[in-house]
Subunit: 178 residues, 2 copies
DNA sequence: CTAAACTTTCAAAAAAAAATGAAAGTTATT
DNA sequence: AATAACTTTCATTTTTTTTTGAAAGTTTAG
C-alpha cells in the first residue's frame, strides 16, 4: 500500500468511525482530509476532493472551527479563505472530549439535578429505591465529570507518562502458581 | 413534583439522553422503565406503558439483555417472560462503557493497525508527517483502551474512593492571594 | 458606486436509522 | 396431535438526520 492510497483509506476510515462517534461522516472526512494535507485547502478544494456540495462544506467547516479542530488561514494575495487542521493529536483529543462531554454528559447532569429535587414525603420502599437510583446516577456522573475535566486540562506528557502508568502496572505473579 | 411524575420525567429524559449516547430512544426508555419498576415487567407491560409495537419491544429487550443491562425473570405459574433491569448503577456504567468501547474504540484500533503497515520508502516531509499522524493516533487510542479496560474491570469502591481522589485534590491557595 | 468574488442560508431532497405489525415460528397444555 | 399462548422475524413505513443547491448576503477592488 502506498502513501496516496493510505491517505485515501485514512479519510474513508475516519469518516466511517466518525458516525459511530456521533459525528457526521462529512465532518469527519473533512477533518481527515485537512489532517493529511500539508497545504491549507480552500472550500473549493474540499468540495472537489470529497465530492460534496458547497453548502455542506461551508456548514461543516464552520462546525469544525467551533470545535477547535480547524483554523482559518489567510494567504496573502488570495481572497478566498483557506483551512488547516490542528495537527497535535493530543489537542485534537481534548477538543473531541470537550465537545462530547458537552453533548453527552452535561445534559445528563442538568436533568438529574432537577430530578433530585423530587419530594420524598411518601416513604415507601419503592420511592426510596427511586431516590437512591437518582442519587447513584448523580454520584457516577459527577465522577465522570471530574475525570473528564481533568483529562481535558491535563498536558499530553502527564497523560502519557504519569497517568497511564497508574493503569499499566504489571500484576505480581504469586508464588503459589509455581 | 411527586414520585409518579418524576419517574415519568426520568423515563423521558433517559430516552432523550440515550440518543446523544448513540442508543436508540426506545432502548433507553425501556431501560429507564425497568429501572424504576420494582416489579418485573412483561413484554405487554412495556408495550402498553411506552406505547410501542411488539416487534420493537422484543428486539430492543433482546439488545438490552445482550448489553447485560436487563435480565429475564421467570415467574412461577406464568408462561410469559418477565424482565428486570440491573439496578447496580456501577454495573450499568460498566456495561455501557464496555459496549461503547466495542463500538467506538475497537474499530479505530483495527483500522489504524492496518494503516500502520503502510510502506515508508519515500522519505518526503509530507509522508513522514503522515506516518507520524498514524503513530500519534495509535498511541492515544492505546492509552484510551488501557484506561477504559481498567475502568471496566475495577470495583465501584476503588473508583469512588481511590481513583477519584487522584483528581479531586484541592488546589493549594497561595499566600499572595491575601 | 458597482461588479465580481466569494460566503452563508435554508427549504427541499436524499439517505440513514428506527419503528411497525402482520405473518411465521415456538413452546406448553390438554 | 391440536390448540392456545406467547415470541421472533423482517419487509414496509415512519421518523430523523444529513446533504444539496439555488438564492440571498457580504466583502473587496477598481
Amino acid at each position: 500500500m502506498d502513501i496516496i492510497e493510505a491517505k485515501e483509506q485514512f479519510i474513508q476510515a475516519w469518516g466511517t468511525l466518525g458516525s459511530s462517534w456521533g459525528i457526521s461522516r462529512t465532518m469527519a472526512q473533512i477533518h481527515a482530509l485537512l489532517l493529511v494535507s500539508s497545504e491549507p485547502l480552500s472550500a473549493d478544494d474540499i468540495m472537489e476532493k470529497l465530492q460534496i456540495s458547497r453548502g455542506n462544506t461551508n456548514m461543516t467547516v464552520r462546525e469544525l472551527i467551533d470545535w477547535g479542530l480547524v483554523y482559518k488561514e489567510i494567504i496573502v494575495g488570495e481572497r478566498r479563505e483557506f483551512f488547516v487542521a490542528e495537527k497535535d493529536m493530543w489537542q485534537v483529543s481534548r477538543c473531541i472530549l470537550r465537545e462530547r462531554k458537552k453533548r453527552e454528559l452535561d445534559p445528563l447532569k442538568r436533568v438529574f439535578d432537577s430530578l433530585a429535587q423530587v419530594s420524598n414525603n411518601s416513604q415507601t420502599k419503592d420511592n426510596q429505591d427511586f431516590i437512591k437510583l437518582i442519587k447513584d446516577i448523580q454520584t457516577l456522573s459527577e465522577g465522570a465529570d471530574t475525570i473528564l475535566n481533568k483529562l481535558i486540562k491535563v498536558e499530553k506528557n502527564w497523560f502519557l507518562e504519569s497517568f497511564l502508568k497508574l493503569f499499566s502496572k504489571k500484576k505480581k505473579i504469586s508464588k503459589d502458581k509455581a
